[in-house]
């Protein structure tokens, strides 16, 4: 499966500027001006287990870390590279927002964001979320190809789930 992704900033109503082009088939051949919108973080395997006392194997095996440091080429064919991708933290009128996704086996295994819990937004967020939660829980899966949302600016794109998806492609 050959896939290509690209992100172009600008267009349509504002200043145009190509952000970058990525071809997941041969990442090395890419023009490197492709501004990375996310930084990859290496997952640290928990050190426990190696020096654990041998008398309690059962207790240790339940918390044994899964090793997924080596990214196999097969995973790249499926699309997303394993790892943790963080969007840039950006300040908006409601506080600082930063999106993080984790990718394993070519799929998004989790997505999280820090978002303000105090002040104005802190008072409006929880009530609103609880009313929506039943709908949200029904489709909790974050394994998606793309994300639709209110039009983001090229600035707020950096914090978006879509940017994290593009970074993992």
């Amino acid at each position: 499966m050959r896939r290509s992704t690209a992100a172009a900033v600008g267009t349509l109503t504002g200043a145009a500027l190509i952000l970058g082009v990525r071809l997941s088939v041969q990442p090395a051949a890419l023009p490197t001006e492709a501004a990375p919108v996310a930084q990859q973080e290496t997952e640290e395997p928990a050190p426990e287990g190696t020096s654990a006392p041998a008398k309690k194997p059962a207790a240790n095996s339940s918390s044994a870390p899964k090793k997924k440091e080596t990214t196999k080429p097969a995973a790249e064919d499926k699309g997303l590279k394993s790892g943790t991708y963080k969007g840039k933290a950006v300040q908006n009128p409601y506080g600082t927002v930063q999106v993080t996704i984790k990718v394993s086996d070519g799929k998004i295994s989790s997505a999280n964001a820090t978002y303000p819990k105090t002040g104005f937004s802190g008072t409006i967020n929880p009530a609103a979320i609880s009313k929506l939660s039943q709908q949200t829980l029904k489709v909790q899966s974050a394994d998606v190809d793309t994300v639709s949302g209110a039009t983001f600016t090229s600035q707020s794109y950096k914090t978006s789930l879509q940017a994290a998806l593009d970074a993992a492609a």
Binding site: S4, A6, T11, L12, D145, S148, A169
Partner: protein, 242 residues
């Protein structure tokens, strides 16, 4: 306001060919920007605004855009209005239209499996990389990292308008004030420009938009909406992932 367009081609084509297709798509989007941006003094739209050219002297593309804006103004009872802010600003139609054209050009050039995401509004075609339909997450209107719905779409468009990203930027032409009542509106249908205009119009209508959206189902446009107090609504045929 600049935005970002993400393009994904899932076609089994040689890499140089994929590269060409992406480059020509980017070139088209930049061409649209140069010709239709209201931020560019020398764009055709800016020149029309200043009456340096008359409507009948405009390019065929711009005349089509103006005609479609007029159609949509009627279809939306005036809530989709290219003159909402005073001078002509067809950006609300141009964005979806330019992506529609980009997708059609890609198809004509041999890419039958792709999606283009323009600032959260998406046009997709053919099968996704895994062979199934494209899985489209609808952003939760309060939590940037959560999805309110996941939709499956093979050929079609998904557009979302909301107040959570840029604040109260959609105006209700009836009250003259900012749109209130709805936090987020998503419309799914065959044409991205129409879906986008419908979503924006419904947002401007407020809760009345929920009734108006229900009538669009007959034209092939399904929808999902979230009110400002967190109630969620979907049309019966919305392609929610199983």
């Amino acid at each position: 306001m600049g935005t970002v367009v993400s393009i994904e081609l899932a076609d089994d084509l040689p890499e140089p060919r994929l590269r060409e297709l992406i480059e020509s798509t980017c070139a088209w989007l930049h061409e649209v920007d140069a010709r239709f941006s209201t931020y560019k003094e020398d764009s055709e739209v800016s020149r029309l605004q200043r009456r340096e050219i008359r409507p009948e002297e405009c390019s065929a593309d711009l005349r089509l855009v103006l005609d479609r804006c007029a159609d949509l103004w009627r279809e939306t009872d005036g809530y989709f209005d290219a003159y909402a802010k005073g001078p002509l600003d067809p950006s609300g139609y141009v964005k979806g239209w330019s992506v529609e054209v980009a997708s059609a050009r890609l198809a004509a050039a041999g890419s039958t499996r792709h999606h283009l995401n323009a600032g959260g509004d998406i046009r997709m075609r053919g099968a996704a990389p895994n062979g199934g339909p494209w899985r489209v997450g609808i952003r939760h209107p309060w939590e940037a990292d959560k999805l309110a719905w996941v939709l499956t779409v093979r050929d079609g468009a998904v557009a979302t308008s909301g107040t959570y990203e840029r604040g109260a930027h959609v105006w209700n032409p009836r009250t003259g004030g900012p749109a209130t009542g709805l936090r987020s509106v998503t419309v799914v249908g065959p044409d991205l420009a129409v879906a986008d205009a419908y979503a924006t119009a419904a947002l401007a209508m407020g809760e009345l938009g929920l009734t108006w959206l229900a009538k669009r189902v007959a034209d092939g446009y399904e929808s999902a909406a979230v009110t400002e107090d967190g109630r969620a609504f979907t049309s019966p045929g919305l392609p929610v992932a199983p």
